[in-house]
């Protein structure tokens, strides 16, 4: 394992801000795995860090295990992470909306440019991320519709669902989108919620990445099979909204199978504690995500249920 400083800048207060990468092996295929583009994606960063620990230990005792190159970047927005903030703290820009970056641009454009220079020649790119900071997801693989040629690679993770997204205008600055523009087979691994580590889920996701690395031929390791993923689109999701604002008390966790009419959670009055609303599943399906905060505004999307 080689530890590398991929990006470095000096802060006005004098200390350096660095993006660190860990490189295992060399040659092709080359896989880049990135977490923590947001400072609050602690769980997502942890998934990549655990992978780093596993690979370092295993590679020491099994020299032929890595047949190609794996570049791990557990955390990009180190500044945000250290101060508990999702975006780049000085100007609140989202690094995952800055790709491919610009050498002569603003701070996060420069950062994205310097990082992307190290990532764009990969054969496979995996971004461990969150879809919405206010939602908690089950483990799933994501890809843009324009990258549909990569469905086979996407299924290698063995997650329950492979979620195909249509890019929105603001997605064109994301790492995943730009990898795809540079002909990298780009896949997202989503799960959990920001600012919280879920150990079991993290190990499930780390194992999913090992399964992927094994199947694309960069890792000689037998990883137990899991799902043959179900292809899912936005239209396959039923969104359950709450009518009342208040305290959100979920009963069902992401990944749970639910029947039609099953209670998913409750909204209670913030001050009196009285129940205001029971939220039910409108169909037989799987809880794909749920709202992840205790306070909820009216007509929020409280649950998403996948029906495929």
């Amino acid at each position: 394992m080689v530890r590398e400083i991929l990006v470095q800048m000096t802060s006005p207060a004098g200390y350096p801000i660095r993006v660190v990468g860990f490189r295992f092996g060399e040659g092709r295929p080359k896989v880049a795995i990135v977490g923590g583009l947001r400072g609050d994606e602690v769980h997502q960063s942890y998934v990549v860090a655990r992978l780093c620990a596993f690979l370092r230990r295993e590679a020491e005792r099994n020299h032929g295990m890595i047949q190609g190159e794996i570049l791990l970047v557990p955390l990009v927005n180190t500044f945000g992470f250290n101060v508990g903030y999702r975006f780049w703290p000085p100007d609140a820009t989202d690094i995952d909306r800055m790709f491919p970056g610009f050498r002569f641009g603003e701070t996060t454009q420069i950062l994205a440019h310097s990082l992307f220079e190290k990532l764009k020649d990969a054969d496979f790119g995996v971004h461990v991320t969150s879809l919405d900071p206010r939602q908690e997801h089950m483990a799933l693989t994501t890809m843009y519709r324009s990258g549909l040629g990569n469905i086979e690679a996407g299924s290698h993770f063995g997650t329950h669902f492979l979620y195909v997204k249509d890019p929105k205008p603001f997605d064109t600055g994301s790492l995943l989108y730009n990898w795809q523009v540079w002909d990298v087979c780009a896949l997202g691994l989503v799960g959990g919620k920001p600012s919280d580590i879920q150990q079991d889920l993290a190990l499930e996701q780390t194992t999913a990445i090992l399964r992927f690395l094994s199947k694309v031929g960069v890792l000689k390791l037998r990883v137990p099979e899991r799902f043959s993923p179900v292809l899912l689109e936005e239209a396959d999701l039923l969104l359950i909204r709450n009518g009342h604002p208040g305290l959100f008390l979920p009963l069902k966790a992401p990944g749970c199978g639910v029947f039609e009419g099953e209670t998913l959670g409750w909204v209670r009055d913030t001050l009196t504690g009285e129940p205001l609303e029971e939220l039910q599943s409108p169909a037989l399906g799987t809880v794909f995500f749920r709202y992840a905060r205790p306070a909820i505004f009216e007509e929020e999307v409280a649950f998403g249920v996948a029906t495929r």
Binding site: F170, D269, F297
Partner: protein, 315 residues
């Protein structure tokens, strides 16, 4: 007449009313649809307060001159009231930029609902003015920004506003999710004004713009005045003439030129220094003879931070 056009129901079941002040000709209550309408919009970013001063000054003028009013004039001081109350640029709790949510969605998240309600409330106006105050980092001279796709219909209007500068920028850089883009697309001629700096009020800029707004309203038939204020002729720029000057290193920026003044090519805009070593780290110079219309107000810079914009001028 104070009107509520949207209500935010908070998790504590408290309600925040989003309000506008409506001015109209005496005796015309109930006949608003027969009158043309102008909307003055402010506070979409909670850290931009210059517009609130302009709203105050204009509302005060209209109250003192009710008989001059010939159309409907709506004043929206605070489109993002939670942000204004918390001195936060974005919509608190959701941490999203309200001015990247348009046209909004009545079934979406709260910021999407706010955006949708704003468009619904303002649509039907013939003119809108969206007041911005840069951010906490940069200070701007009073200016109007127009994308070149709308220049033919907006430039004549912009010249009435008594601003120093009109920046016409290429359509390729237009942000389609902004309020101004959405309103222009549905036929509301919308001008974006930038002036001053975030979290502060600069009365001299605000008063300058209020004169322009009164002039524009008189010119467009919203006010009948014997002698509307005179306005200045702005410098009009196309994007090729605008230079961006970014910091090459991190440190403390000390300005060395006057904001809003003329600057010569190679003249010093400012210096980035190190408080640790006592050394100058970088001297930033103007790339052209021109107008220094944007200047860094917040002294801390990171590598890449925007420090200034210069509009090149001939002669």
């Amino acid at each position: 007449m104070l009107e509520t056009w949207f209500t935010l129901n908070l998790p504590t079941r408290e309600a925040v009313a989003l309000q506008r002040q409506r001015f109209f000709p005496e005796g015309m209550e109930g006949s608003f649809n027969r009158l043309k309408r102008l909307s003055l919009l402010s506070g979409i970013h909670g850290d931009e307060l210059e517009g609130l001063y302009v709203c105050y000054r204009l509302a005060s003028f209209l109250k003192e001159n009710p008989r001059a009013i010939r159309g409907v004039i709506d004043i929206y001081p605070s489109l993002n009231p939670l942000g204004v109350n918390m001195t936060r640029r974005f919509v608190p709790f959701f941490e999203v930029d309200l001015n990247r949510m348009f046209p909004g969605d009545s079934f979406g998240s709260l910021p999407e609902k706010m955006a949708h309600a704003t468009v619904h409330a303002v649509s039907g106006s013939s003119i809108a003015v969206d007041l911005h105050a840069s951010n906490i980092f940069l200070k701007e001279i009073p200016q109007v920004r127009i994308d070149e796709g709308n220049a033919s219909k907006l430039l004549p209007l912009a010249k009435l506003l008594n601003v120093d500068f009109v920046w016409v920028y290429p359509s390729v850089t237009v942000l389609r999710s902004t309020l101004a883009h959405t309103l222009n697309a549905i036929g509301v001629r919308t001008l974006v004004v930038e002036m001053g700096v975030g979290l502060r009020v600069t009365p001299i800029f605000g008063d300058q713009l209020v004169s322009g707004l009164i002039h524009l309203m008189a010119h467009e038939g919203f006010l009948s005045l014997d002698s509307p204020p005179e306005v200045r002729e702005p410098i009009v720029s196309i994007n090729e003439q605008v230079y961006f000057i970014n910091a090459g290193c991190s440190g403390l920026f000390i300005p060395g030129a006057d904001h809003g003044g003329r600057i010569g090519k190679e003249e010093v805009i400012g210096q980035i220094v190190s408080p640790f070593t006592g050394e100058g780290l970088e001297t930033l110079r103007s790339p052209a003879d021109g107008l220094l219309f944007t200047l860094r107000a917040y002294p801390i810079v990171f590598e890449g931070s925007l420090v200034a914009r210069v509009c090149a001028l001939e002669g």
